[in-house]
Symmetry: C2
Subunit: 387 residues, 2 copies
């Protein structure tokens, strides 16, 4: 994993992926940041930036949502004198392009980014309308919660998460730096991709899994009670994301239809191949088709980042964190002060529990120092994973 902190020490081995502790160090972004759309993502960006002392202006079509976000401290209301250096468009996918166009025209000095989960469609729509996109840099933080709205916003929503930034040939380096500074200030890891790369990637790791989980869970809607009583943790995990909101997903899937259709068709063919093998399980080769399906799945899941995957060469350190917004920031701040490089991060959390388990992947050589140092700072170490 690349060192993305831009820490001034230049010492890659001892810097942390997440930024300096919230509130204790100045922000990287300069000037006022205007956030259009005060829902979960917009309000969370507001909270995270304000914790760094950034002046955040919030706007939203819904006066109620806007007042709620301001009441919760995600930013202030706009004023006619605002001269934002950066505008973050955090509105539903179907209005993203229109809002980007309006904001570019209204603030001719500002850099404009958006956080929509599809990147090619808004870009093409704006190009077709002949909009000058020099100051526009699309981006997408891979973060979210099951519940939406300003009321669910949290300053630590982006900590340790990838934030895709889509530059093009026209992009000015200073503008790119401003969008990457935004990602770093909220604790995310900037990842550069073309819009095409981004959309293919999220089709594979987000949009198709959503369709598959929804179709699988959809079969439970009409199933017998008796069958469902036997359900355990495995199928609960497999279908958890099927609880997602239909309105949003109709927009996302429609906007990224090309890459999604390609993978869905491949999957349908794969399903039929397994089905054919099981229909005649004694035929030569049939058992091999089934075995290869499971084995290939073993290989694939091994490659996912996180505790089951690529970070096998790291040690997992599990720290208890209270369920309050500032705790993760403080944890990453302490890790930074200890010179511990966090290679991967994951939060295990039961809704309603007063704390969660933060799983951190660290270099084996740094493990013991990290444990001792964190305990000195008052953190409770819940364990280490080492298999």
């Amino acid at each position: 994993m690349t060192d993305t902190t831009g820490a001034p020490s230049g010492n890659r081995a001892t810097s942390v992926v997440a930024p300096r502790p919230a509130g204790s160090v100045a922000s990287r972004v300069t000037g006022t940041v205007r956030v259009v759309g005060a829902g979960l993502l917009g309000a969370s960006i507001g909270h995270a930036l304000r914790a760094k002392g950034v002046d955040v202006v919030l706007a939203d079509m819904s006066p109620a949502q806007l007042r709620l976000a301001i009441d919760y401290g995600a930013g202030r209301a706009e004023s006619p004198d605002d001269r934002p250096s950066l505008i973050v468009v955090a509105v539903p996918p179907d209005v993203t392009a229109a809002v980007i166009e309006t904001e570019l025209a209204r603030y001719p000095e500002a850099v404009v980014t958006d956080v929509a989960s599809v990147k090619l469609e808004p870009f093409r729509t704006l190009q077709q309308r002949g909009v000058d996109l020099t100051r526009y840099i699309g981006s997408h933080p891979l973060a979210g919660r099951e519940r939406g709205g300003a009321i669910s916003a949290r300053a630590d929503l982006f900590i340790g998460r990838p934030w895709v930034v889509c530059r093009d040939e026209e992009t000015r380096p200073a503008d790119l730096a401003l969008v990457e500074a935004l990602a770093l200030d909220v604790g995310a890891m900037p990842v550069e991709m073309t819009p095409e790369e981004h959309d293919r990637s999220v089709a594979l790791i987000s949009h198709v899994p959503q369709v598959v989980a929804s179709l699988l869970a959809g079969r439970f809607a009409t199933a017998e009670d008796g069958a469902l009583r036997l359900a355990g943790q495995g199928v609960r995990d497999t279908t958890r994301i099927a609880a997602s909101a239909p309105e949003l997903w109709v927009q996302i899937l429609g906007a990224n239809a090309g890459p999604v259709v390609e993978i869905l068709d491949e999957l349908a063919a794969d399903l039929q191949e397994v089905s054919a093998a099981l229909r005649a399980p004694e035929e030569p080769g049939a058992r091999r088709v089934v075995a290869e399906t499971i084995r290939q799945g073993n290989d694939g899941v091994e490659r996912l980042p996180g505790k089951h995957g690529q970070n096998r060469r790291f040690e997992q350190l599990i720290v208890m964190v209270d369920d309050t917004a500032g705790q993760l920031g403080r944890l990453f701040g302490d890790l930074g002060a200890l010179g511990v490089n966090v290679e991967d991060f994951r939060l295990e959390h039961s809704p309603g529990a007063q704390f969660g388990l933060a799983e951190l992947s660290v270099d084996p050589a740094a493990l013991h120092g990290a444990i001792a140092g964190l305990q000195e700072h008052g953190w409770r170490i819940a364990g280490t994973t080492n298999d």
Copy 2:
């Protein structure tokens, strides 16, 4: 959820689903229990029964596995004088029928059950061989771990889990009671089903989800690194079970091919319908197909038992439990002594963490008493979920 404790008080409202605390009350099963196959399930049954004072005899084709299980305390080696009242066959699916036949012949007084995850195939195989199946009652505990073998066995593996018992017309009530006593003694909830009902049910809630998760994860085996870096908790959950062992699943899917094929074909058709809708998203009705797919998934996932599902009318109580085998037994024992009826149970657990979070669904009227009582018994309450 049905009261399945068989508690002699007859007071359904104040009994717990899980049995009396391990070690503190006599077992329900009488006589010696012989467990054939000292892997994860067999050795875990041994540990749980021995904690209740039951005489457990272990047998395994592998002398090394057998010695390991005995060393860990799951039971004793067999002797020529053994007269088991109950035999539990816990061997791989492809040898289950043959071992059942051998055991029925060798111990003509014993009741024989098995724990294989498919129930119709071994039954039919034995019928076709003309074996008298009066003393055979197939069963299936819905429990497991990601790692197998005697070394991974735990006495609390079955606590709160369903244990399907397949009686037929020939089954003698006393024999059925003995198999249900086994399930209750290890903390499971007996559920009666026909073999056909069982196999259709597990195809839906276990076997098809396994195929789907494996096929989805299989696409990551050849994906670009950049795409996988964007993977988050959603896709990790959706594909977690893809880490399962190919050898076992070839046997399971082959043995339950009929019901699995039926659902796989329906899913393939569903995938193609969504794909067709996304290929022409502006056609009339196309967006509705996508929206209905997601909405139907919402409905289905709501029906799964557990925190997302049927138990909305209950309060969730989250208790910290140390990661030691006796802790869950002690917790359920204390809940029983407090007269708290546990409607559902789920354990959140990070591998390597020294404790887990036990989520218990209880009647809202019992919540405050449960919290106070558990705290008096020294339990740490991590929170309550109430949405």
